[in-house]
């Protein structure tokens, strides 16, 4: 993975701390977030985008395309359980229509 290639890169995050903090503080239930936690959340987000990008890319590869498209991300989000939280921000009209399965 790119991030773990050098200790220097690992010890810092590309995401600006102030911005991440502002996003976190949007949640009124959160009283306070330590700066170390902030750092961990930033790094976790980098891991997340890396995973999501790679998984999306797999779908574009399967489709023999050289451009990762919206539908690839939609498919990736739908195929992985941990990404269920993304369902709200990926409009269903763009997402892949799954056959209605009644179990």
């Amino acid at each position: 993975m790119v991030a773990s290639e050098s200790a220097g890169a690992v010890a810092s995050s590309m995401l600006p701390a102030a911005r991440v903090r502002r996003i976190i503080k949007e949640d009124k239930d959160i009283y306070a977030c330590g700066s170390e936690s902030l750092f961990l959340i930033s790094r976790a987000t980098e891991c997340f985008v890396e995973s999501l990008v790679r998984e999306s890319y797999e779908f574009s590869r399967l489709d023999k395309r050289k451009t990762v498209q919206y539908k690839d991300v939609a498919k990736a989000a739908q195929s992985i359980e941990q990404y269920d939280f993304l369902a709200d921000i990926i409009p269903p009209s763009v997402a892949i229509r799954k056959p209605a399965v009644d179990s």
Binding site: M1, V2, A3, S4, V10, A11, S12, S13, L15, P16, R19, V20, R22, I23, I24, E26, D27, D29, I30, Y31, A32, C33, G34, E36, S37, F39, L40, I41, R43, A44, T45, E46, C47, F48, V49, E50, S51, L52, V53, R54, S56, Y57, S60, K66, T67, V68, Q69, Y70, D72, V73, E81, Q82, F85, L86, D88, I89, I90, P91, S93, V94
Partner: protein
Amino acid sequence: MSDYEGGPANDDDLSLPRATVYKLIGEMLPEDIACAKDTRDLLLDCCNEFIHLIASESNDVCEKEAKKTIAAEHVLTALQDLGFGKYVTEVQEAYDEHRKQQTKDRGRKSTKLSQLGMSEEELQRSQELLFAQARLRFQSQTTQAPPSDGTAASTGDTQ
């Protein structure tokens, strides 16, 4: 257009910087692979959403421990609980490196000075040298102009 949470085209204060996320995306894809613009924006929104998710879960963990401030351990637990356990190793590694870096920085008086690689005595000596050089320059300037009664302000015409 659907009622999408995308927001305005400019960088929202409550969103990660567009350029940074675009750069991250680029780093994760092979050189010959592109990413459509609307896709990049979607990924940006996914990141923002992820931050909310982790923060919220971390906060829950934090509250369960009757604490008020989200600590590092809460974040790590939250990641596990949300099924992102595979990130824990890398994030933990980053945390350890980050802490080492913090202790190093705190151990020195100032990171800028310490980067010069000079000891305090050397720094003092070079400072005195710079002062002496400045004094000489100043004195040579004032000998060219008619000697004033020692007021530094009257050297305005020296050029």
